[in-house]
């Protein structure tokens, strides 16, 4: 300020000068004139330096706004040799943009780059190495390696840190080249650099490389050790805010081995909670939340740390709305994991008028999570305010929230209900509808308590136009049919428009009419017949038809049973309807601050299959408390498996995570509660009629098969249902029996054999190599247990003892589940032993993929041999999936991943093949016949969670089998192919 004041008296003159000097760039935004390119070309080749620079500037500006100036390439490149740094930078900008389209010409620039990499000015060296990595042209990449290698060891840290990033760029272009040239190791060395900024960039580059790694060497670049962590945490204090995020996110992958270490890490990370950058704060929260799991939850240290977390989280909510949004999504997770942290901070989640809608909705969610009997009055008063807001979505959610409060805090239920009634009195259409939906939930939670409000609800019947509200109202009528005098009239009026209703409403209407009939059988017979015939004859929806048949059959055979099924006591709905499933929550806590935490989905759900990592990643889990503390070896194993970044193990042990249905889908489930009851009963009946039917009967199976048929569903239209509906007019019961019979026969393949076939033993270690010890072996799978059967023979002249076995890292993390139990082996004695295996060992991708290197030790020596794991040994019993899931998974996998194999001809028909494969955990999800060619849709899940979907095509005359495989991980195809061949050949 002082400067301009002292210049105050010359200001008018100054302004004049500036207006003359001020030339804005906005002129570049005008459209291309004819001949403009030609003019630029002339200027670029001008004798005058300043004119050339001005011309390049113009070119850049045109490029920036999206005009095509690529034809000027040679002219611009000519300006590159200039010693003017600004001009050089501008030309570099141009090159980065257009080199790809003109690779042959870009070569012209190479020499200048190489020379610039040796320039005495570090700024120019760094600039050159930075730019060269952005030119994504293969021909140039080859020239890049030598200069890059030099720059990685440059004396100037500015150049080194730029070079570190360049390795990541190069890896993106040509990962193999990076590995061959040893850049990965050079990058690892930079982790020990004396300059914190270089360390941070190295971490960033390594993280990016391992995220998109194609090979295990690249994926497992960070070998965690206490020493490395120590180095990183030291660098943490001195690097830029962005570097801090990189380092914190990397450190979050490390699980310390001792409590002290964890405590020490927390102490060193917690100062970051006071950082001005929200990303740093949230990453620090992640590290701390994870490490806290390892410590005694009641220790003073843990309690004081938890206290420290609350203030920074609250502070995040006073930042920009976008930051608030991400913070709120994460707080939602944190509140579920550790409710104590924010329970005193209810008021910061009160919604402000000017909050963007996405912030409002998130705040509301957290508000409900923090609601307790102590603060319900405050919350309810707020929610009532929100219910009169302008934004419809927000109002709806607020009304629902009131219902959730009622379900969560029993003491306040009455107040909530009366608040809802007040809202219904406003007669605002969407408010009324939402209120009715939540009141239905309240009825479920507190049966026979608030039925007095039914009268008020019925008054609003005519205004309900949303399916969910209609379905809820119908549910209420059906449920309390005995107390609503005109229930039959009400339902009848709904039934009149049956055909126009949405499926959810139709299903609910059908169920409610049946309920009414069971409760008041005398005067509602006509109504129920009408409903059943509407459902079975007029409806196109298979769900509806099937439900209709089930009710029909139930009612006509055994009304008492029907009563038991339809009017069965319903399980209470839980207090928190939308809590995340604990395993998923733990995984997400490890991903605080990431996209996963915003979506509340595991990263694999949206990042995998994006052309990203080809190497299967371990899911992250929270570490459990350490063995010494928890006093159990099992806990230790889980902890080691869960957190260890290098050894990707988590996957096999971890059950597949699934999200508990959200409010919306849950409502659907609530409505369908009667349906599932019916289905079970029907299944029981089917089992009775279809003798020994082992597999669960899929009532909807046939209908879905036709859905799976894809483009030509009408051609493969399933016969039984249509036949049934034709016959239904006469006697529904008989044709239903047919359906069940047919189903029973069709699906009742049963389990084949139970054991699977045992391959012959192979000699793995011949006696001459084993100094007398001969080992034969094979892999077996008995149920879920994978084991290795070993036959050891002592061909030596002395006793062998002290046996032990160890596996090298392998592709699937196979490891002995227990030590080899072997008695001493006398000369010429041979013993067969079964070694149970698990898949919790360290993972490293092998070539060939299925190679397993084994070391066997005895009193003589250590022997090494390699064997091949048969792929089918790795097929787990969890491969079965729903047809819809199969279909969507199939579609999700990019088509280029599909590969076809000819398997040759076999005598088996489709069903036999399916049975044979089933015994190896190849699950047949669906079967379809097109022009007498059988198609089996099958699914296999490997121990590390990789899914392989298969389509097995069997041409009947020739019995030629064709196998199409689809998986995100194509490298396992050969193994799966072999497995199919092995199984089919018997």
């Amino acid at each position: 300020a002082s400067v301009s004041e002292s210049l105050g008296n010359i200001r008018p003159w100054l302004q004049k000068v500036t207006t003359q000097a001020k030339t804005t760039d906005s002129k570049y935004f005008t459209t291309t004139r004819k001949g403009e390119i030609f003019e630029l070309k002339a200027e670029l080749n001008s004798e005058r330096k300043d004119k050339r620079k001005e011309a390049v500037k113009k070119v850049i500006a045109s490029m920036t706004v999206g005009k095509d100036v690529s034809t000027l390439f040679p002219d611009v490149v000519n300006c590159m040799q200039a010693d003017n740094l600004e001009l050089k930078k501008l030309v570099y900008l141009y090159l980065m943009n257009y080199a790809k389209t003109q690779p042959d010409k870009a070569i012209m620039a190479v020499n200048t780059f190489v020379r610039d990499c040796e320039d005495p000015n570090p700024l120019i060296r760094a600039l050159a190495v930075r730019t060269i990595g952005c030119i994504r042209v293969d021909e140039i990449t080859a020239y890049l390696c030598d200069p890059l290698r030099k720059c990685l060891k440059d004396e100037d840290p500015y150049v080194r840190k730029t070079a570190a990033v360049c390795v990541a760029k190069l890896h993106d272009i040509d990962p193999l080249l990076v590995e061959e040239q040893g850049f990965l190791d050079a990058l690892k060395e930079l982790l020990a650099d004396s300059n914190p900024m270089v360390v941070a960039n190295a971490v960033a580059a390594i993280t990016e490389i391992s995220d998109s790694a194609q090979t295990d060497t690249a994926a497992d670049m960070l070998c965690w050790s206490g020493q490395l962590i120590n180095k990183l945490l030291t660098a943490l204090n001195e690097c830029t805010e962005w570097g801090q995020v990189f380092i914190l996110d990397a450190v979050a992958n490390y699980t310390p081995t001792e409590n002290n270490e964890a405590q020490n890490m927390i102490e060193r990370v917690s100062p970051r909670l006071a950082h001005a950058n929200a990303a740093v704060v949230l990453s620090a929260v992640k590290v701390i939340m994870k490490l806290l799991e390892m410590l005694d939850p009641n220790s003073d240290f843990v309690l004081s740390t938890i206290k420290k977390l609350s203030a920074p989280l609250v502070t995040l909510l006073s930042s920009e709305p976008e930051i608030q949004y991400v913070a709120l999504r994460n707080i939602n997770l944190i509140v579920q994991k550790r409710p104590d942290i924010l329970k005193q901070e209810l008021k910061v989640f009160f919604v402000k008028y000017n909050d963007p809608i996405y912030v409002k909705l998130e705040k509301l969610d957290i508000l409900i999570r923090l609601t307790s009997a102590a603060n319900i009055a405050n919350v309810l008063a707020e929610l009532k305010e929100y219910a009169t807001e302008v934004d419809v979505d927000f109002v709806r959610k607020a009304v629902r929230a009131i219902g959730r409060c009622a379900i969560k805090v029993e003491s306040a239920a009455e107040r909530c209900v009366s608040t809802l009634l007040d809202l219904i009195q406003t007669k605002v259409n969407y408010v009324v509808q939402e209120a009715i939906v939540v009141i239905k939930d309240i009825f479920r939670k507190y049966p026979n308590k608030y039925e007095s409000v039914i009268g008020t609800l019925c008054e609003n019947l005519d205004t309900l136009d949303e399916p969910e509200a209609r379905a809820s109202m119908i549910w209420i009528i059906g449920e309390y049919a005995e107390r609503i005098d005109n229930a039959d009239e009400l339902l009848e009026s709904f039934l009149e428009g049956f055909a126009d209703e949405q499926t959810a409403v139709q299903l609910q209407l059908l169920t409610s009419v049946v309920k009414l009939f069971l409760k008041r059988p005398t005067d509602t017979q006509e109504l129920v017949q009408q409903a059943l015939s509407l459902a079975t004859q007029e409806a196109d929806n298979p769900d509806l038809r099937d439900r209709g048949y089930i009710y029909w059959r139930l009612l006509s055979t055994d009304p008492a049973a029907a009563k038991q099924v339809v009017l069965a006591e319903k399980p209470l709905i839980s207090e928190e309807t939308d809590l995340l499933e604990p395993n998923l929550l733990d995984e997400l806590i490890c991903h605080i601050g990431s996209l996963a935490s915003v979506y509340h989905k595991p990263p694999a759900a949206f990042v995998d299959g994006r052309g990203g990592g080809q190497v299967a990643k371990a899911t992250k889990g929270l570490p459990s408390r350490l063995a010494a503390e928890a006093g159990g070896a099992a806990a230790a194993a889980a902890g080691a498996g869960g957190g260890d970044f290098g050894a990707g193990t988590g996957a096999p042990g971890r059950p597949a995570v699934s999200v508990i249905p959200t409010q919306e889908s849950l409502i659907g489930d609530l409505l369908d509660i009667d349906m599932s009851g019916g289905a079970t009963a029907a299944a029981a009946m089917a089992a009775a009629s279809a003798s020994t039917n082992q597999q669960p009967v899929d009532l909807l199976g046939e209908g879905l098969d036709s859905l799976l048929g894809g483009p030509a569903p009408s051609a493969t239209s399933p016969v039984p249902p249509s036949g049934a509906s034709a016959a239904a007019g006469g006697s529904g019961a008989d044709s239903l029996a047919d359906i069940f019979g047919g189903l029973g026969g069709g699906v009742g393949g049963g389990l084949g054999g139970g054991g699977g076939f045992d391959p012959p033993m192979e000699t793995w270690l011949p006696a001459q190599k084993g100094k007398g010890l001969q080992i034969e072996g094979r892999f077996l799978r008995r149920g879920p247990q994978l084991s290795m059967e070993l036959r050891l023979r002592n061909n030596a002249m002395q006793q062998l003892n002290g046996f032990a076995v160890q596996f090298n890292k392998n592709s699937f993390g196979l490891a002995p589940a227990q030590p080899l139990a072997m008695n001493p082996l006398a000369p010429q004695q041979s013993v067969t032993t079964l070694l149970p295996l698990n898949t919790k060992g360290p993972v490293q991708k092998m070539d060939p993929l299925l190679t397993l290197q084994v070391a066997v030790k005895n009193n003589i020596d250590i022997f090494y041999f390699a064997c091949l794991i048969p792929m089918y040994a790795l097929f787990t019993e969890e491969g079965d999936m729903d047809k819809r899931v199969f279909l969507s998974t199939w579609k999700d996998i990019p088509p280029e991943n599909e590969t076809q194999f000819n398997l040759g001809s076999y005598a088996h028909d489709a069903d036999t093949a399916s049975t044979m494969l089933r015994s190896f955990n190849v699950f047949t999800i669906a079967k379809r016949s097109v022009e007498s060619t059988d198609m089996l849709y099958q699914c296999v899940k490997l121990t590390n969670g990789i899914l392989v979907l298969a389509e097995l095509k069997i041409v009947p005359q020739t019995n030629a089998y064709t196998l199409s495989l689809k998986s995100r991980h194509v490298e396992i195809y050969p193994g799966v192919h072999e497995a199919y061949l092995a199984v089919l050949k018997g």
């Binding site: 500036t18 003359q20 906005s26 570049y28 935004f29 850049i60 500006a61 920036t64 706004v65 999206g66 003017n84 740094l85 930078k89 501008l90 900008l93 000015n121 570090p122 700024l123 952005c134 994504r136 840290p157 730029t162 990033v165 990541a168 993106d172 300059n195 960039n201 960033a204 995220d211 001195e238 805010e241 962005w242 995020v245 990189f246 100062p271 006071a274 950082h275 001005a276 990303a279 990453s283 203030a311 609250v314 006073s318 920009e320 709305p321 976008e322 930051i323 991400v326 008021k347 009160f350 402000k352 008028y353 000017n354 807001e389 302008v390 601050g593 990263p603 949206f606 990042v607 990203g612």
Partner: protein
Amino acid sequence: MIHSIFFINNSGDIFLEKHYKRVIPKSICDYFFEEVTKNSSPENVPPIIQTPNHILISIYRAQMHFVAVCKSEVPPLFVIEFLHRLADIIKDYFDEVSETSIKDNVVIVYELLDEVLDNGFPLATESNILKELIRPPNLLRSLADTMTGRNSTVSATLPTGQLSNIPWRRSGVKYANNEAYFDIVEELDAIVDKFGGAVCAEVHGSIDCLIKLSGVPDLTLSFVNSRLIEDASLHPCVRHRRFEVERLLSFVPPDGGFRLMAYRASCHGNLPVPLDLRHTISFKQASGNSGHLELTVIPRPPSGRQLEDLVLTVPMPRAVSGASLVASAGKYSYDTASRTLVWTVGRLDSQKGAGSPTLCGTLVMQTGAPVPDCRPSILVSFSITGWTISGLKVNRLDLHGEKYKPFKGVKYVTKAGKLEFRT
């Protein structure tokens, strides 16, 4: 990390784009526009949008969306913070963030974009460092350029701060007059219910500095009542340990203006909201299509201080098509497009006995529209200088490491942040 950045204005033009890896076609923004059309106003566009192959992370500032395209898992806050930083840098360079300021300086902005990210990783985001690399256009420079004939925006030397232990400080700083100014600005966020009670209230403060000190000064700023600071976000230059233990700010400052600390003040007990509001707003009246509005401000400033810049904003429901009111002080306006009533009261001079200004009159309702049953909130903004609502006060500022005696100044301001009165 960040693959590409797009600048999009409110009419949906992509007026600048920069790619840090492969070029991602503009069409990716279609997913973004889809969300824009779904939402009533641009600020409601969700900041994170998932598309089949990319993730779009955006911020909305100064009537523009800054959209970053990412491909794999990234920490979204990292990207959001970065985009805000980018906007800050643009503001720092051209005095304002706006479409015009960016278009007027498109080449510099493009150079900046190239300098702030490398391969999607932040490279140089400290204003001080950037200004050494790419010189901002300003009065003095154009003056100097015209006179010396020099004409380059890019420096040829490595900014020394880039790698030093104190990357935020320029080296070789020299001033004739050594000055250090501190602005302590507190904002009151509160919701006041219709009976005048505070539903929730909190105070956010920040200390913004303008430091023009030669050499490498080491400053210590201490407070009279530091316990009032409940949570603090510190500039990287502040020594965290000393703050933790002694509750004072010890730092080597960057040169020029920067935010030293942002904090949340503890406000246990009731905060004195420095004004009261009486209000009646009704949309229904016996005669004809008109509603009634009456607003009275009762100022309660701390003794010896005045309420300044007092503005009341009332977003009205759609059915209110106009207003015919009388203001006892200040001016009012009704924007029929956004249906907002704005009453600019200005300064309330307590000495002159301005008393309680009133705005009173009728609201013109759309004929035929149903009577709206929502109750509008009244948003209030004001400022009071020379006073902090939390009571935070600077004790002293000490300078170590340099010999000169600097000129020191502290200014206190309290403003309304998100202050709303429910009716």
